[in-house]
């Protein structure tokens, strides 16, 4: 026979215990990613062939559509820069307007030494400064080599935006949390290509899995001489460029 005192004592413990168990069981039921995807078996990267990019801006459009990026030209997960190096050594850089509403500056043809387009996106660094500085661990590296932001955890302090050497991050004006390229993580875990790669008409962007010998990226890395952006900062980007010009920063 249980007396009232004992009963109350047990009840005091019972209530929080139920809460903990409910939470734990909810955690245990967290859905695994479809198709038995195991991040351990993958390591993603991207190759970009500068010589193939025609600056059409389809990638920028596709990315904004796919990832709910605000349409204003101050928020990009990926963008394309046009470099114009003049004969007098002056370098002009412009960001492409994907809708081509704002025409690019024209330089007199005889003054141009060389010109090219450079697609930019998050470099998914091996040593990401953004992950290092996040005070609450909202931005993190996944096992398959992608840097993600947990928008339910991000407090919007913007330290990661300051720490990114590539300007790849912005504060999403609707969620007020940091946002950036995820290699379209929701697509690649299903075996699909990132939106920007999918739509590129010249295949300037090569996406692939470095742990799969059949991947196009491995072949791309074998046949090209590659560079990364701002190598001196030792961030070890997983986005590598072929035919990159020394003027690009």
């Amino acid at each position: 026979m249980i007396d009232r005192r004992k009963f109350l004592k047990k009840a005091v413990w019972f209530i929080p215990a139920v809460g903990v168990f409910r939470r734990l069981s909810k955690e245990a039921q967290a859905k695994p990613i479809a198709g038995g995807y195991d991040p351990k078996n993958h390591l993603y990267g991207m190759g970009i062939d500068i010589d193939k990019c025609i600056g059409c801006g389809r990638c920028m459009e596709a990315c904004k559509t796919e990832n709910n990026v605000p349409k204003e030209p101050f928020f990009y997960r990926t963008w394309v820069e046009r470099y114009t190096i003049k004969k007098d050594g002056e370098v002009d850089v412009e960001t492409i307007d994907p809708r081509h509403e704002k025409p690019l500056a024209r330089t007199k043809e005889t003054e141009v030494l060389r010109s090219f387009f450079v697609p930019k996106l998050c470099n998914q660094c091996e040593h990401p400064p953004c992950v290092q500085v996040c005070p609450v661990g909202a931005t993190f590296s996944t096992e398959d080599g992608v840097v993600l932001v947990d928008s339910n955890r991000c407090i919007g302090c913007r330290y990661c935006i300051q720490a990114c050497p590539y300007g790849a991050r912005y504060l999403h004006p609707e969620t007020e949390t940091a946002d950036k390229c995820t290699f379209c993580y929701h697509r690649i875990v299903k075996g699909l290509l990132p939106a920007c790669v999918e739509v590129c008409p010249t295949q300037a962007r090569i996406f692939g899995d470095l742990k799969s010998m059949a991947s196009r990226l491995v072949r791309f890395k074998r046949i090209n001489r590659l560079h990364v952006l701002k190598a001196h900062l030792n961030t070890e980007p997983k986005v590598e460029y072929a035919n990159l010009d020394g003027e690009v920063r």
């Binding site: 101050f74 928020f75 500085v133 932001v149 339910n152 929701h186 739509v199 008409p201």
Partner: protein, 451 residues
Amino acid sequence: MNTELAEKLTDLSREVTGFIYPNEVEIHWSILVVVYPYVTGLVAGAFILASLVQVFNVKEVQPTYRLALLTALAFLIIAPLPLLLHLGHPFRSYEIFLTPQLGSAMAMFGFVYLWYLMAVLLLELWFEYRKDLVVWSREAAFPLDWVYRVLSFFSTDISPRAVAFDHKAIKIITLIGIPSAFLLHGYVGFIFGSVKANPWWSSVLMPLVFLMSAIVSGIALVILLYMVIAPLRGEGVNMRCLDRITSFLFYAVIVDFTLEGLDFLHRLYESEESIKILSRLATDKLFISLWVIQIFLGMIVPLGILVAAKSLKVNEELRRLLYFASVILIQVGIFATRWNVVIGGQLFSKSLRGLTVYKMELFGLEGVLMQASRIAARVACLHQGDVDGMRQLGEVTVRVAVDADQARERVPDVAEKGTGRFGLGELGVVHLSRSQLALHNDSRSPRQGDS
């Protein structure tokens, strides 16, 4: 999207010179983040002045001891406010305390702040005021006596032995407090100094420069408050005390000036790839705030005034006036220092090819007010929107799952088809033929010019 923000950014983008990355138009750390290091600097500086009395036995400075401690406490309490107001999600700020990411300099905030507040300032103030609180609780009338009694934690012992113990405790706390004060402001400097992406911030000297400028601003503030408050309380200003503190101030300014000069020389001499854009930054965008306010008005002029006040045999009245002028100039100068670090570090592109602008809205009034109203609005709708946010507490949400779900919702046919070619029509892809491509290329790319 917020059209106001879009308009603001459009205006700002017109004033960009050279090339900046498209995401860099928005200045992310605004005036509120300028205020934070300024305020913590005052805290650290005021405490270090107070510690002069306790640890280094500088008896002349005694009249400012309590004032310095209280100044430090007052500013420490408001120090997190500007940061809180600046967060995109102020209601998640507790995450910094509960689940800090220990590799982040910013996450140290929780530890350093709480340590400094609880273990140093409040404790030292309590021991300092304990005897008085006991005495007041005996003398005061009804409601106040209980306030004093509670504040003294119901201690009653004011025997010489107990008071001697208080003094000993204060001494030990101050000994711990000095490195803590260094930590409090040194870590703020480290937050900036460790950002390798930003050549204006990234410097090993940054924590030291922050620390010295903190001492300068803290001492200057206590002098200012002392000169205003002492007459108001009917006490005369103690000139011996004032002369002594201003000497300390003088030396602190010299050290600060030297460190900043060293930093400047070092950058100039090493002349790394960022030097061109940084010199354009310093001579163009920051000319007034760096050269005129921070260096000339904030350092050289007050140093001159202090030298004049001390070396020329001027009378007390004039000396007070000179001291007063110099501490005000120093305050303005240190505020400009914080401005030049925080705002200056965001006015140039990390592509090192262009400069942008920062516009404080209506001298900060609108900006600050808007932030405050935003917080109020959040509190009001705590029952709706942010309850969801609160529910996240302790709930580990893997972004992967969220993303996958969102994608499924957005393109329901995607999940079903699951092929590699979905969504192309939706993304508005135009398959260009080769001739179209050539045409496209021709009209867009000046590269055609070389052939």
